[in-house]
Symmetry: C2
Subunit: 153 residues, 2 copies
DNA sequence: CATGAAAATGCGAAGGG
DNA sequence: CCCTTCGCATTTTCATG
């Protein structure tokens, strides 16, 4: 396992700030938290080295890119041992944006985004259910995503 | 609905780059895409104004912050009309990081992150199921998250 | 869409508490 | 050991053609 690291309140505040805006100037955080910009810099580098921070990304609005349909799909495999090969095939579908190995009713649980209900049908029937390892699927269509945030550092 | 906007290949390439690293220097993208840094700047501002880009954030490793447990919970409400009040209460639980209004078996579907199985039990019994509007829940524990990415611009 | 210059920000060495 | 000051390098930003 990756080495655990000591995170103090300053680290947490910096992290929290950057989780809301990855481009917050160090000088601004420095003023807010009463330290020097260089200290902020050092802390960020520390968390980066510890891989607590693994990167940055812009947040986009999928709807404005045409992605109107979001759904979750529970997948049952023919055999539990097919997990890895099924996953490899799922990974090749751009529409599959998240996949989870889960306990309970399904073997794999995925989040899928696509541009229309027609495309969803196509992906589901001709791509997902066409995977040999897939025995059956159950779809949950999301019409709204009222909460979307991250854990509290 | 928000105004749709024309996105060309350059926009798409810039977006794609920034979705992998929100701090990629404009000069670097400029060189890669054979335009000037100022052009990149203009395109980013355009997408920001159109709200295709809504912000930036650092990507963190939840495990290194102690969040070892991730699960999905399907929630059934006593009555469909309780949706808004239930959501307001769910929104107050820090452990609830995502919520979806869905068709099908559940009224609300949430993603939950917490620090241990003990905490999950506590949150589930004393916080989530303590909400008046909640009639029943079904939990799906995730042991692995092998795919986690965004849509393709 | 490019140029170029001014302003802001990031970065790292060296020193102090 | 962690923090700060300080100067240089890089990057962003904007007026102009």
């Amino acid at each position: 396992m990756t080495s655990q690291i000591r995170i103090d309140d300053l680290d947490r505040e910096i992290l929290n700030t950057l989780m809301n805006d990855a481009r917050t100037p160090y000088a601004e955080m420095a003023k807010r938290f009463n330290v020097s910009p260089a200290t902020v810099h050092v802390r960020v580098e520390k968390m980066r080295a510890a891989e607590i921070i693994t990167g940055t990304e812009v947040i986009i609005n999928p709807k404005l890119l045409g992605y109107d349909v979001c759904c979750f799909i529970g997948i049952n495999l023919n055999a539990a041992r097919d997990y890895h090969s099924a996953l490899r095939k799922l990974n090749e579908l751009d529409e599959v944006v998240e996949a989870y190995y889960t306990t309970g009713a399904y073997n794999i649980f995925v989040k899928l985004m696509c541009k229309s209900i027609e495309e969803l049908q196509y992906v589901l029937i001709d791509k997902l259910q066409a995977i040999d390892e897939v025995q059956s699927t159950e779809t949950l269509i999301s019409l709204q995503n009222p909460i979307n945030r991250n854990v509290k550092p």
